[in-house]
Each structure stands twice: as structure tokens, then as C-alpha cells.
């Protein structure tokens, strides 16, 4: 059941538990137990809401920042990653293979705020060698959801 359950709640974490049980062909209590178990095991780490901020009047700017760092003896990249992810404006931190080491995503109110964060906080960290900031201009698809277009049913209404 786990795989199917996860696939559903990944797309819709607000689904009614009774309905979830029906479509999985399971008992509601088993579904609840399974969800709780997966929360405890850290498989389910949270239930978030996807928001297209573009459609609101709230100004938001996001950026991807490539960071090159010097790994520390005995700690590898973990220490420096922690120093970065503790900032609340940082939304994600990934260790990356290839030309740079960490990919940091950042959300701020304005370009100025983000550039300020990069120059004041990120670049000044001891082990950071260099950064490259890419501002996001438009989100077409996020978390598997296409933001640019709405689904439209173009089928004939009745077919054999």
C-alpha cells in the first residue's frame, strides 16, 4: 500500500482520509496507521501547499545559487551546508555533483534582499570559494505541477 499511498498524498496531501481508504481499497484505520508510521519514520517529512505567488499581489523573488566550497576535514560538506541551511530565507540546499558543490535556493522580497544575502552572508563564510546567482524569471512547472497552463478536456462528450 505504501507506494500507492505516497503517490497520492504527494499530489494531494489534503485528501479526505475516508476517501483515501476507499480509493485504495483499504480500511480507514489502516491508512491512518500507515501515514502515522511513515511520519514517524521520517518518510513523510511534511505537508506543504504549492502556491503560485505570481498570481498574488505579494512580491517574491527566488534565486538559484551555485556555491563552491572547501570541504572540511572529517566533516565533508555537512558543516558548511548546515551553516547555510539554517538561514530561514534559504528554501533548499543540495549537494551537487559537477562543476560546483552546493545548490542553494533562496526566496526573498526583492532582488536587493537576495543580493544582499549573497554578498553579506553567503560569500563571507570561510569555506565558500565562490558563488553564482541565477534569478528565476518564470516558473513553468514546479513539484510536477504545470503552472503555465490549465488542463482542459477537449474530448467529444460522448463516444463509444
Amino acid at each position: 500500500m505504501r507506494e500507492e499511498l505516497l503517490a497520492i498524498v504527494e499530489r494531494n496531501s489534503r485528501i479526505d482520509l475516508k476517501e483515501l481508504a476507499v480509493i485504495l481499497g483499504a480500511e480507514e484505520i489502516d491508512v491512518v496507521n500507515e501515514l502515522e508510521a511513515m511520519e514517524k519514520e521520517g518518510i513523510i517529512c511534511g505537508y506543504h501547499t504549492m502556491i503560485d505567488w505570481e498570481k498574488t499581489s505579494i512580491e517574491k523573488v527566488s534565486a538559484l545559487i551555485e556555491v563552491r566550497v572547501t570541504p572540511q576535514r572529517g566533516q565533508g560538506f555537512d558543516n558548511i551546508a548546515e551553516r547555510i541551511y539554517k538561514y530561514p530565507e534559504v528554501t533548499s540546499v543540495y549537494l551537487i555533483s559537477g562543476g560546483y558543490d552546493l545548490l542553494v535556493t533562496l526566496e526573498g522580497k526583492s532582488l536587493k534582499e537576495i543580493s544582499g544575502f549573497v554578498s553579506d552572508k553567503l560569500s563571507t563564510l570561510d569555506s565558500v570559494l565562490s558563488t553564482a546567482t541565477h534569478f528565476i524569471l518564470k516558473k513553468y512547472k514546479d513539484h510536477g505541477t504545470i503552472l503555465a497552463k490549465k488542463y482542459e478536456d477537449t474530448r467529444e462528450k460522448v463516444t463509444p
Binding site: 500507492e4 476507499v22 480509493i23 485504495l24 467529444e156 462528450k157 463516444t159 463509444p160
Partner: protein, 390 residues
């Protein structure tokens, strides 16, 4: 002009679905549960192959039987899924949808007066195609108490010395019924004893929700007397690409290739390239869609139970076939009133044969949200009808 039209064509009954379609299409804001095709878009990697083939200039006819590459992939698929072997050179033909295969398959084997056994309720094309091929359709009325499966007894009773071929439409549109191995073994015995042919329309083979689909060709002595029909429309959500195929004995396929060659030339080239990709890398997509259909199927069965609407549990295709006999209306009356009062289209069971009377076909090729909306309206309607009766 005297005698302008073919009497046989004129005498064909128009499809019952067409009639209903005309009513529905006049209503702008009608919800529909009447669609016989997947709601998913064709998976992107398959569309991408189609586009790529156009870019490369693959814009010519293929051989009459279809791309050799595709026929080989179909043989691999049949081996992988059904465990049977077909020769890609002589025993596979790519057609324009499963529908063309039904038509030319019947025309390839029917002589005037041959009887064609057609279990109903079933897809709308079998009967007219049998008639246009010069055959005599003999209807076998499937029963709700058998979960709309074909039984050996029903088959035996319908066979005469003029019987030529049995059409075997499972998983079934419109009932959602399936035939399991034991059901097939029972009818196969009758088929072998009377030495008749089978046309097995397995277009919904990938959409079963119990055990994996069993084909009649897996049963001993059946492959050599069966025209197996399948296609890409339902499994890979490729209805608009118009691509199906037939597998069968070389002697029959040779005649089908001739008819196909003179009428069609070859199936659409772009679609054939896309289909190769579907067979090679489409299994995960099929699994994902099947899982979604199954969730909706469970939701519907539960909803019917809650509203006390009688319905056997179907394990195939993407249809449910609830019984509405309790309301004392014909299927058509029910569907018309439901459309008028709640603006939801469902297809009357009678569109698939007279014995569909008292039933509705409800398709679950819709998102759960859409289903919920429409089924809520059905629950209201059913409640109102029951109140009226009191």
C-alpha cells in the same frame, strides 16, 4: 437516380450513441460520464517520438502490414504479456485502430449466410461489420447474474451448423466484465468441439484490476483459430493516433492484408513510430494509468453502494454498468431525464444491444474531482426518483 444507395448500408441501424451525442452536444455546460476514451494525454515520450519521426522526414507509406520494427515489438509484447509466439512477418498486421481490424477480420472469413456470434452488451461495431461482411449476426445476451461473462452453455446454445466465428469482447465495453482463465477454458472446449473461429477483441487487455489479463490464445488449441485484436488507444491513451493491430493465423492474415491494402494502404506512419516507443518504454505509463483507473473504480463502487444502486463489480476496462431497473424507466428515459435535470450525460445500456436495457454505462475516464461532482448529482437524482415513487 434510381436506387441511389446501398440497401444494406441504409438498413444499418445508426449507433445508439450517436443519437445521444447529438442531444448532449447541444448542452453547453453538461458534465459527461459518457466518454469511451482515456482522459490522460498520450505520454510525452511517445508524442515526442511521433514529432521526431516527422522532423526526420518519415512521412511516407510504410509497408502494407506496417513497420517491421513495430510488428516485431508487438510480437515481443505478446510473448512478454501473454506468453504466445507470433511471426512478425506473416502473423501481424497494423491497422487503423482496433476498429479496422474488426471490419477486415470479419470480411476476410465470412461467406454469405455465415453466422457471427456476438455477445452483447458490447461495442457498437460488431453487428454492422458482420452484416456488411455478408454474415448473419446472432446475438448472445449476456446476463448480470454471470457478471456479464460468456458461459459455455450460452455459447453452446447459440451454435448452429452455420456458425463461423465467435466475437469475444473482453475486457468488455460497456460492462467492464472480464473473462478469467477458467471461463476461457470452458468456452474453448465448446469452440474446439464445434470447430469455429474466434475474433478476440482485447483492446482493454492492459486495463484489468484483478489478475493480469488472460487471452484466449493462451488456451490450448486456440491460437490457430483466433484473430486477436489489440491496439494503442486504451493502454497508452492514443485514441486519436488511430492505431491498432491484429495477430492471427497466416492464412487469415494474408486475406486481411489484401483488404487493408486496397482500402487503407497502410496505417499512419507517424503513429507507427510513436507506437514503437510506446511498446518499448511505455510499461510505467500503463501502470500509472491503470492505478489511477483502479482508484476511481473503487470510488464508484463505493458511491453506488452508498446510494444503494445495484451494480456488479467490474474488473476491466474503465466502465461500470449499474442497474436502474428499480426506477421503472427505460435506460434511455433515465439517461434523458438525468441529462435534462442534472446536466450529466451517461450512456443508456441499450446503445450496446437490446439486452443493455435497464443499465447505464458510466465511464471513469475522468479525474476523481470530476467523478465526485457528477456522482454527487447522480445521488441527488436517484434520491429524487425514489421519493417520487413513494
Amino acid at each position: 437516380m434510381r436506387d441511389l444507395l446501398s440497401r444494406q448500408a441504409v438498413n444499418l441501424k445508426p449507433s445508439g450513441i450517436r443519437k445521444f451525442f447529438d442531444i448532449v452536444s447541444e448542452m453547453e455546460d453538461a458534465l459527461s460520464l459518457g466518454v469511451g476514451e482515456p482522459d490522460f494525454d498520450t505520454p510525452w515520450h511517445i508524442r515526442d517520438e511521433g514529432i521526431y519521426s516527422l522532423e526526420k522526414g518519415r512521412t511516407f507509406y510504410t509497408s502494407n502490414s506496417g513497420l517491421k520494427e513495430l510488428r516485431e515489438e508487438i510480437c515481443h509484447y505478446m510473448k512478454r504479456k501473454q506468453g504466445v509466439t507470433y511471426d512478425p512477418l506473416h502473423e501481424v498486421l497494423i491497422t487503423v485502430g482496433g476498429s479496422e481490424a474488426i471490419d477486415i477480420g470479419l470480411r476476410a472469413v465470412i461467406n454469405p449466410g455465415d453466422e457471427v456470434l456476438i455477445p452483447q452488451p458490447s461495442f457498437v461495431s460488431y453487428e454492422p461489420c458482420a452484416i456488411m461482411a455478408g454474415g448473419v449476426p446472432v446475438i448472445i445476451e449476456l446476463k448480470a447474474e454471470n457478471e456479464f461473462r460468456l458461459t459455455a452453455k450460452e455459447l453452446e446454445d447459440a451454435i448452429t451448423d452455420r456458425t463461423k466465428i465467435l466475437i469475444l469482447p473482453f475486457p468488455n465495453n460497456p460492462t467492464g466484465a472480464i473473462m478469467e482463465r477458467k471461463d476461457l477454458e470452458e468456452i474453448a472446449e465448446v469452440i474446439r468441439r464445434h470447430d469455429i473461429l474466434v475474433m478476440s477483441d482485447e483492446i482493454y487487455a492492459e486495463l484489468t484490476y484483478k489478475e493480469k489479463h488472460v487471452s484466449i490464445v493462451e488456451i490450448e488449441g486456440m491460437q490457430e483459430r483466433t484473430i486477436l485484436i489489440n491496439g494503442f488507444s486504451k493502454a497508452y491513451a492514443m485514441t486519436g493516433w488511430r492505431l491498432g493491430y491484429a495477430c492471427g493465423p497466416r492464412v487469415i492474415l494474408e486475406q486481411m492484408v489484401k483488404l487493408h491494402q486496397f482500402a487503407i494502404m497502410c496505417a499512419p506512419t507517424t503513429s507507427q513510430y510513436a507506437a514503437v516507443e510506446a511498446l518499448r518504454n511505455g510499461d510505467p505509463d500503463v501502470l500509472e494509468m491503470r492505478t489511477a483507473y483502479n482508484q476511481r473504480r473503487r470510488y464508484l463502487m463505493h458511491a453506488f453502494q452508498e446510494m444503494g444502486l445495484e451494480c456488479f463489480e467490474p474488473f476491466g476496462a474503465f466502465y461500470v454498468f449499474p442497474c436502474i431497473k428499480e426506477f421503472g424507466m427505460t435506460s434511455e428515459e433515465f439517461a434523458n431525464r438525468f441529462l435534462e435535470e442534472e446536466k450529466v450525460a451517461v450512456v443508456p445500456g441499450t446503445a450496446f444491444g437490446d439486452c443493455g436495457e435497464g443499465y447505464l454505462r458510466i465511464s471513469y475516464a475522468y479525474s476523481l474531482d470530476n467523478l465526485k461532482l457528477a456522482i454527487g448529482k447522480l445521488a441527488d437524482f436517484v434520491e429524487r426518483l425514489r421519493a417520487e415513487k413513494k
